[in-house]
């Protein structure tokens, strides 16, 4: 069974320029997300030299961004929840190489105390595990969004369903 490709519901929002998932950010990752039969959200990524640290190696900060993005998008896609990451922990087991494909898979690990806990694994084409990530996300409050994102009344009303989520519903 082919995994279902996902069209981002927020793709056409005028202010949407996310470094991780917007196709309109020219320096971003422009991730293509898929939903796996398990419900997990995944992204296949091959990095160019624009994202290098040491020669031939993908920069660790970019790898962290990749994991954070797929986990955050999972919350938005599966639960309609926009959230800020409040902690992100990476275990870098093996470096990622420029020009080689990697699969990032994100899943829910739990919830409580006002945060949702998530996990992500990044594996190589040979199935070898390169990175594990664990993160906690706090749902964005409506008024917080209005202020921080500079939303006007129309935008706020249109996007309001993404905010003020309860973590116990995850």
């Amino acid at each position: 069974m082919k995994d279902a490709a996902i069209e981002l519901p927020w793709a056409h929002e005028p202010k949407f320029r996310c470094f991780g998932c917007s196709p309109r950010n020219p320096i971003g990752l422009a991730l293509n997300l898929r939903q796996l039969p398990s419900g997990e959200i995944s992204a296949e990524t091959t990095f160019s030299e624009d994202y290098a640290s040491y020669p031939g190696i993908v920069h660790g900060g970019i790898v962290s961004t990749l994991a954070d993005e797929v986990m955050g998008d999972m919350l938005a896609l599966r639960f309609g929840m926009l959230a800020f990451s409040v902690s992100l922990r990476m275990r870098m087991l093996l470096p990622l190489r420029i020009g080689e494909p990697y699969l990032t898979v994100a899943r829910i690990a739990g919830s409580g105390h006002g945060v949702v806990k998530t996990e992500a694994d990044i594996t190589g084409a040979d199935g070898e595990l390169h990175v594990t990530a664990n993160a906690a996300y706090q749902p964005i409050r409506s008024e917080q969004a209005r202020l921080l994102m500079g939303l006007d009344d129309t935008e706020h009303a249109r996007l309001n369903h993404y905010f003020d989520h309860e973590t116990r519903t995850v």
Binding site: R89, R91, L93, L94, A109, G110, K117, N134
Partner: protein
């Protein structure tokens, strides 16, 4: 992830440690002795051992200090370290 509501016994922790080491290194868990040196287990290398630590962290929803992880020598020390996070409220 497993959030423990009661503190597991040393034997229970040791059983999970052996199970995850066995899965990662593709060896029989019951063949892993307490005093075995981690890096001398068949198939072991630093990456595989950190991977086991990562799985232990997720299993118990704890974060181990890197310094403690890289100081580990023997299986029994990994069991003790894991148990310390479950009993002392670390992580």
């Amino acid at each position: 992830m497993t959030s423990a509501t009661t503190i597991p016994t040393r034997e229970q922790v040791a059983s999970v440690v052996r199970e995850l080491l066995g899965q990662e290194l593709k060896i029989v868990p019951s063949d892993i002795t307490d005093d075995a040196v981690l890096k001398e287990l068949p198939g072991a290398d630093s990456v595989r051992l950190v991977r086991v630590v990562s799985r232990l962290e997720r299993h118990w929803d704890k974060e181990f200090e890197d310094e403690a992880v890289f100081d580990l020598r023997k299986v029994d020390e990994l069991v003790s370290l894991t148990l310390s996070y479950l009993t002392d409220g670390n992580g």
